[in-house]
Symmetry: C2
């Protein structure tokens, strides 16, 4: 089977590298950045590249799998630009971590049967093909979201891809997906940005000398791609706003306990440690 990766960044590049040892697939790629294509050809993770997305209309791409692995906002555009393969034997998936607005795009496109959304819960604060690695999805979760109109042939093709990459698959409604990830992924990033802006406001030199592991944990998140996170925040705006509000309430709660009640504070921290240890 031909697999065409559109966007050879950290995720697309890692899919290519992870699949390159499989003899059953021919991995091709499309990226506007020719240096990513050249890298991937050099390290033999792809067998070739497409000159134009219009090529996907050629009969040689029948029954192939197209993976759009671009920043979320670009994913919408790419999807709209390949409408000529909607409801065909070509399967289309993506890799973004916000699904609601993609789902709305599907609605406008009258729910093509061959679009299955994927969210591999894997990544890094690093980006670009240069940082891609084989095995990135091994043992990680991948969440699929699709409309009732999707046919099982296409669903199974996408499932098989992620299983081959070693992922554990969960299926979630797009709306539930975005609600959950607003808390488990988008909120930690929002908190990290807000925290760093707080430190930035101090105008104190050499804070790094006084920063132990605690801060380092947060700072890594801020190294992620600002373009990608702008898109994610915007595409999941409503859920993230609610999650930020709830975090603010919990910060005020903690502040109240620090000021007023040592015993309740201590129990609160103990309960949170217990909750963490039984759930994560």
């Amino acid at each position: 089977m031909k697999i065409i990766i559109i966007g050879l960044g950290l995720i697309g590049g890692s899919i290519a590298k992870s699949l390159s040892s499989s003899k059953n697939h021919e991995i091709l790629a499309f990226d506007i950045d020719q240096s990513s294509i050249k890298n991937a050809l050099d390290n033999k993770s792809i067998a070739g590249s497409l000159n134009s997305l219009d090529d996907l209309g050629n009969t040689e791409f029948n029954d192939s799998l197209v993976i759009i692995s671009t920043p979320p906002n670009v994913t919408v555009e790419v999807l709209q630009s390949i409408d000529f393969v909607f409801n065909s034997s070509v399967t289309i998936t993506d890799t973004t971590s916000a699904k609601n607005s993609l789902h709305k795009t599907l609605q406008e496109l009258n729910f093509p049967q061959n679009i299955i959304f994927s969210h591999p819960v894997a990544g890094s604060h690093l980006s670009g093909e240069i940082n891609s690695v084989s095995g990135l999805f091994e043992g990680k979760s991948t969440v699929l979201s699709y409309h009732d109109s999707a046919t099982s042939m296409h669903v199974n093709r996408v499932k098989s891809l992620w299983e081959l990459l070693g992922s554990k698959i969960t299926v979630l409604d797009a709306e539930i997906h975005d609600q959950i990830f607003a808390y488990t992924s988008h909120l930690p990033h929002a908190a990290a940005y807000a925290l760093l802006n707080t430190l930035k406001g101090l105008d104190q030199d050499d804070l790094a000398i006084f920063s132990g592991g605690g801060l380092g944990e947060f700072l890594r998140l801020v190294s992620s791609s600002p373009e990608m996170w702008t898109d994610i925040f915007l595409m999941n705006e409503k859920n993230i706003s609610i999650a930020i509000e709830e975090l603010i309430q919990n910060l005020n709660l903690l502040k109240g306990q620090i000021t007023n009640d040592p015993k309740i504070l201590r129990n609160f921290l103990i309960e949170l440690k217990d909750f963490k240890e039984s759930n994560y």
Copy 2:
């Protein structure tokens, strides 16, 4: 020189292990938990133990170095209980990460010349002697805080200890110390607790499946000792409250940008990434 470690937890145990290869020092310890003492005797990181802190008054402990490495609140009590060695040839230091209330204790004790506070900026979410490691302080910062009354003999003894352990030393006024660490260490922990409480409030099973690296970074902080963090939050209450307020302002700022202004949001995230990369 005799070095007496009071409190053989992660930090005290790691000091013992790191010093145990030094032939110039005799490492002794005191801990109410006899299993910690037994562990340390078994792994040969200490040469013996004290039955009572009163022993420190014996002449054999002249010119020794006492390191109080207990939870912050206990450190105050230990300090008060060894007042018979104040202004003697015995040097006293600690390892806690909040200094203002210790400084106030000093004031009540009329500023003994032989108390030099230490804050090694090293640690782990793990606690206890069992998790202690040799080399924990290698390449890390250690901040010293002391009153003008402290004599250089005692200051130099504490400096030599941390230099021997491989730390880089900075001297900070106790008040400035607590202001800085409210932001670089205590605020990240406060944010992690508030974030986990937000997730706890969701009452959604299996959130762990949907948690990528972003959340994991925060969760590790919540595994730290609740007792220690209760003490730290209480002992640096004023500064932490201000820092939490500023974090809330920055969360509201980010929320506003997500809702209103994609361009400003994108620039904001780019600036923060730049700031992070040039400062940390």
